[in-house]
Symmetry: C2
Subunit: 377 residues, 2 copies
């Protein structure tokens, strides 16, 4: 539900209602790959103001497995998280972990190393990155898995397209994604689950537009824009949004998959995206890159220049970490590889981003989003 549109851009402030609570948009969606936002408790997430988080179907399908989560009635009960959740189709991990293997970044025993991922019209065969065991996912079985997991927002299975890719391949994969989208819609879901269709099309204007039109005319609860985070430049993300957004229905929520750097957030909100997930703030945090309100947005807290720095990570931040810990102490924790390091940095980064997005929402409602953007960038 769109509550307010920015007069000078496509930015929109809205509300997504779920049985597990409302999500004020624009909203950043942290990623809890293995059914946990790494290092944080549910209470931490609530304290930070996280409204919803993202769980990867691929990972929980492998461990602990659908049967275990099913025993609990779904991820909400399994995790003990009362708010809304998103799961993806497993497609991205199937394709990206397969790609990682092809490029030699992920290693299995040699005899298991081929084939990586085998795609047919019916579905996709892949090997687990854990033990090399073969699994088969179809559009239908992806939805069935997500029904067991029980997230509030779920995604149709798409074929993730690598970059760079030829026009012919992108066209074929995008069209198949369209056919898979229709098949996903045939599967019964829990009453409360909103199924989002996924737009592909690479960096080809007419393919993106066709995909946007195809997905938009289907009875999905929301629209996701995929394939934007895979090797494309920031400029190309802008182009894709410019091609796609005019074809999207006004009344459906729009999710951008896998993007969430600070400057990107301003761009995608300006172009009319409502929600967006990204591992960036949590992954960077665990590497010691903490978010600050400066021209570069992050500082590397592990550097020796912070070893005696008695100031908080960010002087204007009101998070539990910045109110209680110095840069020097966090620097020490990282240098001696203490568990608390990863937790404090993750907490701060998520809080920092939540507050930024909260201010963005406020600026849209107040009608000064572009001024606020200028002030920050």
């Amino acid at each position: 539900m769109v509550l307010k549109k920015d007069g000078k851009s496509q930015a929109r402030a809205g509300l997504i209602k779920t049985v597990h609570g409302e999500i004020e948009t624009p909203a950043f969606v942290p990623v809890g790959t293995q059914a946990t936002v790494k290092s944080l408790s549910n209470r931490d997430l609530e304290d930070i103001g996280v409204q919803i988080f993202f769980v990867n179907t691929y990972h929980v399908y492998l461990r602990p497995g659908l049967q275990t989560v099913g025993c609990f009635g779904g991820l909400h009960q399994f995790i003990g998280w009362k708010g809304p959740l998103i799961t993806d189709s497993a497609g991205f991990q199937i394709f990206s972990l397969g790609e990682g293997r092809r490029q030699g970044r992920l290693k299995l025993r040699e005899e298991q190393d081929v084939p990586l991922v085998r795609i047919t019209e019916e579905g996709v065969t892949f090997r687990s990155h854990l033990d090399g065991k073969e699994h088969f996912f179809t559009p239908e079985s992806s939805i069935e898995a997500q029904v067991v997991l029980g997230a509030d927002i779920i995604f149709a299975l798409d074929e993730c397209i690598y970059y760079p890719a030829t026009f012919e391949y992108v066209k074929m994969a995008t069209e198949r994604t369209g056919r898979w989208a229709e098949r996903c819609l045939t599967v019964s879901r829990r009453d409360y689950q909103a199924l989002y269709g996924v737009i592909q099309g690479g960096v080809f204007e007419n393919l993106r537009q066709a995909s946007a039109r195809d997905i938009s005319r289907l009875p999905f609860g929301g629209i996701a824009i995929g394939g934007v985070s895979v090797g494309e430049s920031k400029k190309e993300m802008e182009l894709v949004l410019d091609w796609v957004v005019p074809h999207l229905p006004e009344d459906k929520p729009r999710h951008l998959l896998g993007v969430g750097e600070i400057d990107d957030i301003f761009t995608l909100v300006e172009k009319g995206v409502d929600t967006f997930d990204c591992v960036m703030p949590t992954r960077l945090g665990r590497m010691g890159h903490v978010l600050v309100h400066s021209s570069k947005w992050t500082l590397d807290i592990t550097k020796s220049q912070y070893a005696k720095d008695a100031t908080p990570i960010d002087e204007n931040c009101r998070c539990f970490v910045c109110q209680n810990y110095t840069r020097a102490y966090i620097n020490h924790l990282f240098r001696v590889k203490e568990l608390l390091a990863y937790r404090l940095a993750t907490y701060h980064n998520l809080y920092f981003l939540e507050k930024l997005v909260e201010k963005i929402r406020f600026s849209i409602k107040e009608g000064n989003f572009l001024d606020f953007k200028k002030e920050w960038l």
Copy 2:
């Protein structure tokens, strides 16, 4: 200050006053080796009811170094912990890491591997376990380091004695510990710091008694009993306490170094010990061994039998973990090696132990400690 003595045993309930707060005794002292109780924030420690924790001088001397902690005025400010702290003399780590190297459990480059630890009357030369660099500690420099660190309770440098050891070696080392104790007392401390002398003597009755008398007659603020956790049996710990305690002054607090399993806690309290530190509950927690009120005291939450167990770790526990998480979810976190696993298990174990020791204090004050012990063991 002893508030109440148990009529039927040597158990005592008391109070240790420090400028950073009071410690009700008997008290368990968790270990925060590198100036952090692994995985927990200061707020967690407060929520658990931790009254005081232990930092290892050896580790913080190496990283971040005395100069850095000194810039902050001491560990309290560096960590941001407002309650009382204990530091040790560094002796135990110097000797035990040296011993680990001798036994091949710790490896340095070969040319750095000798000598491990070189003891003279003046002090001890050792190599850092991090980079093999040589360091020299004397009784005086150990106290000077602990003055920089600024903990409320600090320890005299002792010579840790390995087990088994000959009478001649134990006698020589125990006598040197006595001479070192006197030298420690000559160093100026911060007004508020209580210096504890350390009793050694191995498992030889007359050496333990002589050491207890020697240390007790010196003007220490408290008495520590060392060398009990190193390879001795539970029976030998009881013997050592029986030999030593009759020689201790009633009015000084007594600390037992490095012991804290559930049955040991009942024994050492019964024998008249006030405070005791141990890495057990935190280290076991990180391995997935969580404390429960059953005959074996722990269960291995990583076992597959808990993968679908919807109950909390301990049904009677009121900690944040048991109120919010199931065994199944924690089992999953351990199996996929998620950071939150170590935190939840550590939190629960410390809470479980704090509550047990709180009940022990209460039972002493109520005059039914031995009944309470029988009920638990």
